[in-house]
Symmetry: C2
Subunit: 278 residues, 2 copies
DNA sequence: GTTCCGCATGAATCGATAG
DNA sequence: ACTATCGATTCATGCGGAA
């Protein structure tokens, strides 16, 4: 097994300054949730919606430089409502990224099962966010088998009922390790997921407010990287992506401008509270 | 109760020609699923993505003219993949509509539980569509309580029919939206839904292929109109929206360019096969 | 009557083949 | 080189017939 000098690396500073110090074509996956327009005002100056694209584009250029040609860039973002309307800056950003050379390969939906409570006269609770998938080329890598999920209950039932020819037909379709996995397979036949992810938000931790639950980066890490691959988060925050990288044995480079977040992320990622593979 | 001369009206022709004949400020809800770019080639000529906005804008202007100031315009649309990338024409359309005077109030997500099967090396199955909500003013009407409780006779019947494993399966499947309504029906408290709707597409009918299931327009009809209100669908297709209007006692004006669809819609909407409230 | 089971079907997408 | 057509892939759903 290859030994890496800095499997988990945390860099303090503005990613506009730090990214240029990273080598080109070195990152397998960029997974990040940037500060939304008009949010986190004290860090990146609370970029107003009108300047958001202009601010983000140079960063996106650097991200494209450090990403391997086979790599993926997953951007978690959702526009807020301003004066009763949805902002347009996310849509403008998608167009600008495509204009600048990125391929807009897919838009995944994160359905937040336990969305923030509330009631307003003119809208319901917002229960979804975008996960925009950009790539450098049409030949990016994707490990689909690693995120297979159990079928719906009705299908499982049907499989359990399989008899004779049906069973044989299914068996022939399944290439690998049928005999060994037979007992497992009966209970939970696995199928490929869709581009809609159903995940609850994490609300238990009082010390920090992560933008997303661990299972969100976990899903994309499994889908787009292998153990030992390098994952980059230029807006690390409290370091959830890095935490998952440690657990899944991926290398990680996180960049964060706010010192308090740096300290928090170090504590979360380097502490021994989780069983580690390192 | 007020009597209307044409509670259910079907008009044949290109909506670019027909819409100007309708009175201004008369419609309470526009619910429609326009032909997607490069789809339905034989009807609107298969508008290529590049010309889509240009084609749609004059129609949108007419729609804004006929809509009441308090009304809503719900647009069901989803971009396809072209050469491995998602098309941008839907995003451009949103911007153009806003530019032309519409307020982009919300984007609902329709999660298609039974999305079309398939497997490809670079993407998963597409299991969601956009339901873009536009309004003329910030003071539009919204009957939120009406989507907490299923009122349609068919829904009550369906729930009453549920028993044993069917009931269990349905319970396990529920999230927000419709599923929640049904599962809560038997005793739990009612809650407001979110902006994510979980609905399966209807695929059982052999005679016609509706773009969306009845429960999709049903939800928005209940949310944005009252009985007696007028609903417009400028791209009627096989008339699913009109069918629901009849069942829910809303007035309906449907416009369709293709004669075969006109005939089919007439048969579906005016036949006596469904128990009617009229 | 219930419950169970088989089967057709759907705003899909890719890659190969053909004009 | 560019467009058009076609086969292969794959899964939740609801209907109708069977047990």
């Amino acid at each position: 097994m290859v030994e890496y000098e800095h499997p988990l690396q945390i860099l303090e500073g503005d990613c506009r300054d730090v990214l240029p110090t990273l080598p080109a074509d070195s990152v397998d996956l960029i997974f990040t949730s940037p500060p939304y327009a008009d949010s986190r005002k004290k860090t990146y100056g609370g970029i107003p919606p009108k300047q958001y694209v202009e601010w983000f584009l140079p960063i996106a250029d650097e991200l494209r430089r450090v990403l391997k040609p086979s790599g993926s860039f997953v951007l978690n973002i959702k526009e807020k409502t301003v004066n009763g309307e949805r902002s347009l800056y996310v849509l403008e950003l998608i167009q600008a990224l495509k204009q600048s050379g990125w391929l807009w390969t897919e838009e995944f939906i994160w359905h937040k099962k336990n969305s923030f409570p509330g009631k307003w006269p003119n809208r319901f609770r917002d229960a979804w966010e975008r996960l925009l998938h950009f790539t450098k080329s049409r030949r990016f890598v994707m490990y689909q088998d690693s995120v297979k999920i159990p079928t719906a209950a009705s299908t499982i039932k049907r499989v359990a009922r399989l008899s004779g020819s049906d069973w044989q037909r299914r068996k022939n379709r399944t290439q690998s390790g049928f005999g060994a996995n037979q007992s497992h397979w009966l209970g939970k036949e696995l199928v490929y997921p869709t581009n809609v992810l159903h995940l609850a938000t994490e609300c238990g931790n009082k010390k920090h407010s992560a933008a997303f639950p661990e299972r969100l980066p976990e899903w994309f890490l499994k889908l787009f990287t292998l153990p030992g691959d390098l994952v980059l988060d230029p807006f690390m925050g409290s370091g959830t992506t890095g935490l998952v990288c440690r657990r899944l044995n991926r290398r990680f480079t996180g960049i964060e401008i706010l010192h308090d977040y740096i300290a928090l992320a170090r504590e979360r990622i380097f502490s021994n509270q989780h069983p580690s593979l390192f």
